[in-house]
Subunit: 426 residues, 2 copies
């Protein structure tokens, strides 16, 4: 089988790339393959589905802000029910943390992200379930948990149904005449010499060579250009060719709570039009939770750092004791409503963490474009990243993001990488 563009991976980055490539190259045969039986069944499906335009890197602001606008467009103009809820992101900070972040928060606002700051007293009034003052609490001292000083709300932030999102790209891609092949596993990328001599052993090191498709469970698929969008699995395909995937796989877990005792978190006035708590990030240990507005539950996660190992897992499993040992004691200090409640459901996925600068990578390799290393925020950047892939394919210096903003294509590449290290990875 032959095609012009072969996209490997039907996660949100693969489908967004495929859609924008097909949109701009209507006469090209664009084929998406995935080993799963449907779209987005890798880590796209495991995500918390959060989205925010609040990042310390301006590039990330541009990527997310335009993608969030695209999500609104999907709902309002294209009629996809992707369950976009602007519930906001609420960072709760201790005094020490807030003072250390002041200049960062100012910079973030300068390039356009809307932030609202809440004083402790205001937070107390708005969120009766929240304990802000922990002075004199011996257990809190033992856990080294600080009192809350302020809250910072990212306004153009919230959540989306990632499954509905990938299906919207899939539907639009199919409308354009794009082709999908599920249950098709890419076994390896094919490296071929630019000029084949027909000698066994090609390509030799003295030959110019390029990626020219993939060997799959359904046979070889040759392509002029291959787009690799296989997330944490990218190293499996890139390592044999000596291409660095520039990311390591790290487990992230989601714990779901459905308990009437947490109902108060779904009845909070003032932060958003849904009258629920925003996605809330505690001042300690990277713990965060958000209401799942549609099903009336709470999704909780923890952005652990040092000590959480790297390593690709085929089927990462959630750890029940992770909630009880690592998260619970801190959580109930700030939100005692969680006391004695156990998660009703849990799952785990993996982030493709770029340890170098925390930014996504879109880089050309002969015959190929690699898009990945999204570091846990690929969904909220998916539309911008798909456009950048399409611009790189077209040989353009600048990509036009949804809404008209311009983005230097080479900035996310390896050769002329030009992005600031992202510090707000959660």
């Amino acid at each position: 089988m032959e095609c012009d563009i072969l996209v490997v991976g039907s996660g949100v980055l693969g489908l967004s790339s495929a859609y924008h490539l097909k949109l701009r190259n209507p006469d090209s045969r664009v084929v998406v393959i995935d080993r799963s039986s449907g779209p987005g069944q890798g880590n796209s499906a495991k995500s918390e589905g959060g989205l925010r335009n609040v990042f310390t890197s301006e590039a990330n602001y541009l990527l997310t802000d335009s993608t969030i606008d695209w999500f609104s467009h999907l709902e309002k103009d294209l009629g996809y029910d992707v369950k976009l809820h602007y519930i906001g992101y609420l960072w709760l900070y201790s005094e020490r943390q807030y003072n250390g972040l002041k200049s960062t928060l100012e910079a973030i606002q300068k390039w356009g992200a809307e932030l609202r700051t809440y004083e402790k007293e205001g937070l107390k009034r708005m969120v009766p379930h929240l304990v802000t003052d922990l002075e004199g609490d011996e257990e809190a001292e033992l856990l080294d948990i600080e009192s809350i000083h302020k809250g910072v709300l990212g306004v153009k932030c919230g959540c989306i149904d990632t499954d509905a999102l990938v299906r919207s790209y899939e539907a639009e891609f199919l409308k354009l005449g794009g082709e999908l092949m599920y249950s098709t596993d890419a076994k390896k990328l094919i490296l071929r010499p630019e000029e084949e001599l027909g000698i066994p052993g090609e390509p030799f090191v003295w030959q110019e060579s390029r990626i020219s498709g993939a060997e799959t469970s359904r046979g070889e698929i040759r392509a002029d250009t291959t787009v690799l969008a296989t997330g944490v699995w990218s190293e499996t395909l890139l390592d044999p060719l000596g291409i660095d995937a520039l990311m390591r796989a790290k487990k992230r877990q989601i714990f779901v709570f459905k308990d009437s005792r947490l109902g108060g978190l779904l009845e909070v006035e003032g932060f958003n039009k849904y009258s629920v708590m925003p996605l809330t990030i505690l001042p300690k240990a990277g713990i965060l939770f958000r209401p799942e507005v549609t099903e009336g539950s709470i999704w909780l996660a923890c952005a652990d750092e040092l000590g959480r190992g790297y390593g690709l897992e085929e089927d990462p499993q959630p750890e029940a004791n992770y909630y009880t040992d690592e998260i619970y004691h801190v959580l109930v200090k700030y939100f005692p409503c969680f006391r004695d409640i156990r998660p009703a459901n849990m799952w785990a996925g993996q982030y493709a963490v770029n340890g170098y600068d925390g930014m996504p990578v879109i880089t050309p390799v002969p015959g190929m474009i690699y898009t990945g290393a999204a570091s846990g925020s690929g969904i909220m950047k998916c539309d911008a990243l798909g456009r950048i892939v399409a611009s790189l394919y077209a040989g353009e210096e600048k990509a036009e993001l949804y809404g008209g903003q311009s983005f230097n294509v080479s900035s996310l590449g390896v050769e002329d990488r030009n992005v600031e290290r992202e510090k707000f990875i959660i």
Copy 2:
């Protein structure tokens, strides 16, 4: 066992770090451990032993130039016979290549590296064994091999006996009262909370934690600071903690030739005082060779790129057919004296390749300093990198390199990394 500083790895980066740390902290207990029975028996021993101050990144110029001066100091002033030979590096370029590199070569000279350019006619006279003109050669056309247009000689370049080098650091370190423990394998790094509570399961994610030594084959070694200098093996120790080693392991092979028919390469006037060919880099496929002046042999290697896989190997093996299939046909076009000669010896080692920017990494982690990702040029930067490790330990912003040049310590770190991507990786 307890110490102030535990250096894991007695390769050239580990021993250089240990020496400079002990020199600057004479009252501290500095212990180097290595699983081998002697120093530098990992990839330091497998190296080609080349050294050059010619790089496209100015930072690399500073790191290598000062380290090469240190090597001279070792021989002249400290009396170590490290077999430093300034034979030069000779890059042979086609016209197309040379024109593409002009501005790069100018920049390289601007910051201090001495380059000499040779016209084709001059090269022909000096190196009768070299074939420069390949027009009309059908096989050369098939192999897409271009004629040689110019040669560029890096003057402050050459080679060193890496075993003698690591032993010089070892000797100086011991003189200062440093301690060495060979045949001591670091099984894992120990992560401990800053404030231990005595609860099983520590450290929890809500605790500040730090590296506090290593579990070794000879028991636990606790250290205030651990310096990790384990080269390609770094990921084995860092992955479980979720610290990105920022490098992938890639095999490099050395083929050794001892044949009287190659004697002409050891009798070439004009490039250096030893009257031998410089380390010579062909215009094609990253093939390079150098005379090994001491033993009168030729060492040959190939800096292959796309297609040479990444992956840590415990005991990488050379591939005999790699020379015959991949290197030979190109080599004999430029240097027919290699015709029908087979390597007398061969071995393989691994580079720790930093796929982001090709530069080394020296970065702090709580309780630890990681030095590595040297991308195949660690030996020629070893002294500068050791000084930077010692400055980072001392909390200094700038390190003073041998000769007095200053280097920003944070530039090689992850947080505030500030180096240009290196393009001359061979």
